[in-house]
């Protein structure tokens, strides 16, 4: 069987000779890629393995020969020694645009090829300023590296004849263009239009005057702009963040994980010692780290530019204890003993509220402490379904990059690019590969244009949509809610549903657009039912994905934390309220009042948030850049992050602090070492069984090849040498067959007048993005979004002020108008100054 399989695969391969080496690759492979796979370098500038070739830079010219075929007989012509006669073309050919063919002979070492490389490089250098000593790219620059290999040693071009061009052209405030350094390879413009569908930059003029321009307002308006600096083969595009910040060879590389969203992109934190940090290491930039199962070689601009919150000046470095109504700095011993006192007395009235961005080790300790005290361990989150994701989530070995024709993807109640950019990209690419994409959302989103089926529904009907889809191909249930019956009359929905049943693979993403906790629960249930009923659970490339609002919400669910169903009441009743990495008081006045109502409040935080200011004890925690740990992504991949910079003096890791509190109850938890804290976690949690830090650090070969020796090829993305993580199995995979569970579908509460619904935005004003100076101009303003008719009747205009009254609080915000949102609905982005947890009556006035 295995042998037959091998023969079959071999038959499907094309064998050719590159630089006298026999190479077998898949048909359709470009010559440059075939060479790369065999470890042979053919230099390129414009070619990038993640994009279609254009053959512009001419650096990859090689001698290509093909077996000569006798036209009359159709038989190959043989040499006297019996080998096929190879005919080489009169001209060199670009290896990036020629697909391999059987018997092809590629030569990259002939004098003709060497001369061509020298000549192309000489041409490129005639217009290049050669300012490597002051160029940010110096040290990791393809042009610099290839010039060391090829090209003449001295210039034949007269310096005074060089074209002088502007060197500091802002393409918006995030990316700068140096026009002299640009070699017009179009990698950036092609990335923006082909890969991320944000064609906001392009070429202007022609010939030697060809230049990159931006035509968006603000300039280079894209969540992906930073990636162009990675693939730019020269120092033409640089980020404002790293520009003149350091030289690449001075930087340390530390593997990390982005926590801004549930994708958990793999990153490399580049650090360097700086005087401003007293000679200590500081983060100089965030770079993507290759993980083809997660983020490939990309990260979004939020992940790249919003890291400063960990080093904000407002970081607290000493425990604080309320004395005489005022928070006073105290020693750790004093603070911990004050907490120990309360924790012993609180018993089951210990309520722990944890944010969605802590590590798995932190959650495990919180859960252990809570269990010991018989208290409540709550996740500060407005979404439900993490338990269902654990049951019927993506199977181990899933890769969104493998979904294509024959697969189906449903994205419901999510503006995916805003909530999890990399998932948007990978879903978009799956659709381009032929996967059936069904986008269900009440309004227009950027994913729409890639959808085969677009389903519009009214806010509140999200679960009903999935119920109706399920009902359209399964035995009818007579007791369906009215909203489901109405949706069932929609032919588009039925056609889409039928395609799901026929799909080989099905992945369902559900978000939190317009939902509160109860609606989210109903939606997650309906989505799980759809997957179970169509047999798309318990195997790779199938299952449920929650588009969480925080980076490690899935880990929190896996380790037993649950959202509070009536959070204000649960908070108020606490004898000891232990808040870790969450700012409820800052988010919502109602929760602030509830926090005030709790008997004793301990807050464990990086900064003195509103909640911390209201606390009785404040415990300074470490940022993820200062410690080790693991996160679990929405695709249920457990991945490690590593300490990159020294911890702020006086701070402790969250799991350490919790362990020290637990000690008061006689509970012994690991206090120092993350890998040791992970051992009991893995032992106690079924899906994590068998995992350890060693396993999580394992890597395998990935394609395309990237890394420091290959910057000319894949760009400056870091290769992954510190761990690809492990994707957990779902309960369904482990043989626990999930059952259809029909939670009764509540009709959305009827609200008279305008209804405000929450939506999510990437550039909101949350605590992790607000300190990013770089993104400050891009952060959304507090706003409401209305239908044009509603806006007109209320006398509101685009960009003009609007008075919003929500839960008795009136706030002045900006009005936005979107003709795709339903009449009577007002969108209110989360974390943008207005507290909203679900559909709420609202009043808007000019």
């Amino acid at each position: 069987m295995a042998e037959a399989l091998a023969t079959k695969t071999e038959q499907n391969l094309v064998t050719l000779t590159i630089d006298d080496r026999k190479v077998s690759v898949a048909p359709g492979t470009w010559v440059v890629d075939a060479a790369k796979q065999a470890g042979i370098d053919i230099p390129v500038f414009c070619y990038h393995p993640k994009m279609e070739p254009v053959g512009m830079c001419r650096m990859c010219l090689v001698d290509i020969g093909r077996p000569l075929v006798d036209r009359a007989t159709g038989q190959p012509v043989l040499e006297p020694d019996g080998t096929p006669k190879i005919q080489f073309g009169a001209k060199l050919e670009t290896g990036c645009t020629i697909p391999v063919s059987e018997g092809m002979v590629v030569r990259g070492y002939t004098d003709k090829v060497k001369a061509a490389r020298d000549e192309v490089l000489e041409f490129l250098l005639t217009s290049h300023p050669l300012d490597c000593p002051i160029c940010d790219k110096g040290g990791e620059c393809p042009l610099q590296n290839l010039t060391m290999h090829f090209g003449p040693g001295e210039s034949r071009y007269i310096f005074d004849e060089k074209k002088r061009l502007a060197k500091h052209v802002p393409l918006g405030e995030l990316i700068f263009l140096d026009r002299e350094r640009c070699i017009q390879c179009a990698r950036c413009t092609r990335f923006q239009s082909e890969v991320v569908d944000d064609p906001v930059i392009g070429f202007s003029e022609r010939g030697r005057s060809l230049e990159i321009i931006t035509f968006s307002e603000p300039g280079f308006d894209s969540y992906w702009s930073g990636n162009t600096t990675d693939i730019c083969p020269v120092g033409a595009l640089t980020t404002t963040d790293f520009r003149f910040g350091a030289r690449p060879w001075e930087l340390r590389q530390v593997a990390s994980i982005c926590t801004h969203c549930p994708v958990n992109c793999n990153t490399t934190l580049n650090t360097r010692r700086e005087a401003k940090a007293g000679g200590q290491q500081v983060v100089k930039r965030v770079m993507p780290r290759q993980n083809e199962w997660v983020n490939e070689i990309w990260i979004c601009d939020k992940g790249r530019f919003a890291y400063q919150y960990t080093e904000a000046v407002s970081r607290i470095s000493q425990p604080l204890l309320r004395k005489g109504g005022k928070l006073e700095p105290v020693s750790w011993d004093e603070a911990l003993s004050a907490v120990a006192d309360k924790v012993k007395k609180a018993g089951s009235k210990l309520v722990t509220l944890a944010g969605g961005r802590l590590s798995n080790e932190d959650y495990f300790h919180i859960k252990k402490l809570s269990e010991k005290a018989n208290g409540l361990a709550l996740l500060y989150c407005q979404m439900a379904g993490g338990d269902l994701v654990a049951q019927v989530g993506l199977g181990a070995g899933s890769n969104l990059g493998e979904l294509g024709a024959g697969s189906a993807i449903v994205v419901i109640a999510s503006d995916l690019e805003e909530e999890a950019p990399l998932w948007w990209l990978r879903v978009k690419q799956a659709a381009e590969r032929g996967a059936t994409l069904i986008v269900a959302n009440p309004r227009r989103t950027k994913l729409d244009r890639f959808a085969r089926h677009l389903l519009r529904y009214a806010y509140g009907e999200e679960a009903a949509v999935l119920h109706a889809m399920l009902d359209s191909f399964s035995p009818k249930k007579p007791d369906q809610a009215e909203s489901v019956k109405k949706l069932l009359r929609d032919d588009a929905l039925k056609v889409a549903a039928l395609e799901l049943t026929q799909a080989e693979n099905l992945v369902v993403f559900y978000g939190s657009e317009g939902t509160d906790l109860a609606a989210s629960n109903a939606l997650a249930n309906a989505a799980a039912n759809l997957l179970i009923a169509t047999g798309h659970v318990g195997k790779p490339n199938n299952g449920l994905v929650a588009v969480w609002d925080k980076g490690n919400a899935q880990g929190a669910w896996d380790l037993g934390l649950r959202p509070g169903e009536d959070l204000p009441a649960q908070i108020k009743e606490a004898a000891l309220l232990y808040i870790v990495g969450a700012d409820p008081a800052g988010d919502d006045p109602a929760l602030a009042a509830a926090v005030d109502g709790a008997q004793f409040v301990v807050v464990q935080e990086l900064a003195l948030t509103k909640t911390a200011q209201a606390a009785d004890v404040v415990l300074p925690a470490q940022a993820f850049t200062e410690r080790e740990g693991t996160y679990t992504s929405g695709e249920r991949r457990v991945q490690r992050f590593y300490p990159a910079v020294p911890a702020v003096d006086g701070t402790r890791a969250d799991f350490t602090i919790t362990a020290q509190i637990a000690a008061a109850l006689g509970l012994k938890l690991e206090e120092q070492i993350g890998s040791l804290a992970f051992v009991p976690l893995a032992a106690a949690t079924e899906s994590y069984k068998g995992l350890d830090y060693g396993k999580l650090a394992e890597v395998t070969d990935q394609w395309p090849i990237v890394g420091r020796a290959d910057v000319y090829y894949g760009g400056t993305t870091y290769d992954n040498s510190q761990g690809l993580g492990v994707q957990l199995s779902s309960a369904a995979e482990r043989g626990q067959s999930p059952a259809l569970s029909f939670a009764p579908l509540a009709e959305p509460a009827a609200i008279d007048g305008l209804v405000a619904v929450p939506v999510s935005r990437l550039y909101d004003r949350g605590n992790t993005i607000l300190p990013s100076k770089l993104l400050s101009a891009r952060l959304e303003a507090p706003q409401v979004v209305l239908n044009p008719e509603d806006a007109e009747s209320l006398g509101l205009e685009m960009g003009k002020p609007a008075k919003v009254t929500l839960n008795g609080v009136t706030t002045l915000v900006t009005a936005h108008i979107d003709n795709s949102i339903p009449k009577g609905t007002v969108l209110i982005p989360r974390s943008l100054g207005l507290a909203i947890s679900g559909p709420t009556p609202v009043k808007v006035a000019a």
């Binding site: 053959g55 041409f123 005639t126 017009q184 022609r206 030697r208 060809l210």
Partner: protein, 426 residues
């Protein structure tokens, strides 16, 4: 002779539809639609041996037969970007013999089963485009163009489109990009337009003159057409004659007529009693032929011109007399190509820019022999490495003039010695 393409010189008011119809105009088109299969039209054109008049000389009927019949819709795009310096034939045909041209477009569209044809004109032809629009409207009113023609199921629309002033848009794939509203830069080939053309659909791109030849070929037959010209280059061709010649202009002659016949019999020879020195047979994209007796007696057809070291191209014959020094001439052509390089590929973008500086310095006498050697090397390094033909074209005049008219450069730089360091012109 003005037998085919320049018939309007013999027939008054041929640019009036009634007059054109008196001369059997559109009868061929009607017969094709009502009595012929599309493939039959292609077969006649194939048999006639007509070769593309845009410069490459590719057999027209063969090109039409390449169109992918498993991918629809099909398009016909007329290359009326006529931008080669020294070429001015398409303009005369479209201005003065417009209905024959349009009938050619229509026959081509029918032959490849296209329902839409675009005529892409260089931006400066805006008046011409307006005239063509009127003609197209007239044809629609007359029922010669539009829906369900002559009671058949065949529908055809023709649209004109103006370029924005780029020479590169005469390259067929750059033209298609421009027609799609994108930056005019050439595409990779293959795939070729008959497989992947306008909007990614199978497309035939033909030159104006090529299509204007088609109506009489279909009307009178391939054998009749083969009565003109040579075996491998049948038919007639409009030669645009310019430069140091008494009577510049368009001359329709059978392919295979000699340079001597064109320049001296029809063109009236060289003015002012000066001597002919060189010929550029394909406009600015041309190598320079030394105008000796052998060259002058060479037949102007696709096969013979290479024997004297050039290509026939679009047959824009530029005559150069002994008052012209080649350093001046290549400075002109290189300036043109540097200005028109689209910038997509490195050797052309950077190389033409470099050559411009060198030819400028050489022409100003601010160079030495090393610069001539360098210029020749730069040109050689461009050649064969570019994405499209423009880069190669930019080098033809340079390398051929250095090889064949070395004396001109020696005279120019006689004061400068090889050892002298290069000076930059102020």
């Amino acid at each position: 002779m003005n037998e085919i393409l320049l018939r309007h010189r013999e027939i008054n008011n041929l640019d009036q539809l009634p007059i054109y119809r008196q001369h059997k105009g559109f009868e061929t088109f009607k017969r094709a639609i009502t009595a012929m299969k599309p493939e039959e039209v292609t077969e006649i054109v194939k048999a006639s041996g007509l070769r593309g008049r845009g410069g490459a000389g590719f057999p027209t009927g063969t090109k039409w037969s390449f169109i992918d019949k498993n991918n629809w819709p099909h398009y016909v795009v007329v290359n009326a970007d006529e931008s080669e310096p020294g070429t001015f034939k398409d303009r005369e045909i479209m201005e003065s013999n417009p209905f024959q041209f349009l009938e050619g477009v229509m026959l081509c569209a029918y032959a490849v089963s296209a329902n839409v044809a675009y005529i892409y004109l260089r931006g400066e032809f805006w008046q011409l485009a307006a005239e063509l629009d009127k003609h197209i409207e007239y044809l629609e009113r007359e029922g010669l163009l539009g829906d369900k023609l002559f009671g058949s199921e065949y529908t055809l629309r023709i649209h004109t489109h103006l370029g924005a002033g780029a020479y590169i848009c005469g390259e067929e794939t750059a033209l298609l990009e421009s027609l799609e509203g994108k930056l005019g830069q050439p595409r990779l080939r293959p795939p070729f337009p008959p497989n992947f053309g306008l909007y990614g659909k199978p497309t035939v791109v033909n030159n104006v003159e090529t299509l204007a030849s088609v109506p009489l070929i279909v009307e009178r037959g391939a054998e009749w057409y083969r009565g003109f010209g040579t075996e491998k280059s049948p038919g007639t061709k409009v030669f645009s004659l310019s430069g140091n010649v008494e009577k510049p202009g368009n001359y329709e002659l059978p392919l295979g007529a000699t340079f001597r016949e064109l320049i001296f019999t029809h063109g009236g020879g060289i003015p002012g009693g000066r001597k002919i020195k060189a010929i550029m047979p394909a406009g600015a994209s041309s190598s320079l032929i030394v105008a000796d007796d052998k060259a002058l007696d060479t037949p102007m057809d696709y096969e013979s011109v290479p024997s004297v070291g050039a290509q026939l191209g679009s047959a824009s014959i530029i005559v150069i007399d002994d008052s012209v020094s080649m350093d001046w001439l290549i400075n002109k052509t290189v300036h043109f190509f540097q200005h028109e390089s689209c910038g997509k590929c490195t050797p052309c973008r950077e190389g033409t820019y470099w050559m411009r500086h060198l030819t400028e310095r050489i022409h100003l006498g601010a160079a030495n022999w090393n610069d001539v050697i360098l210029l020749n090397e730069v040109a050689t390094n461009i050649k064969g490495k570019c994405l499209c033909a423009l880069g190669d074209f930019a080098t033809e005049a340079v390398t051929s003039s250095i090889a064949r008219f070395k004396g001109d450069f020696e005279n120019k730089l006689q004061a400068a010695s090889v050892d002298m360091p290069a000076k930059v012109g102020s």
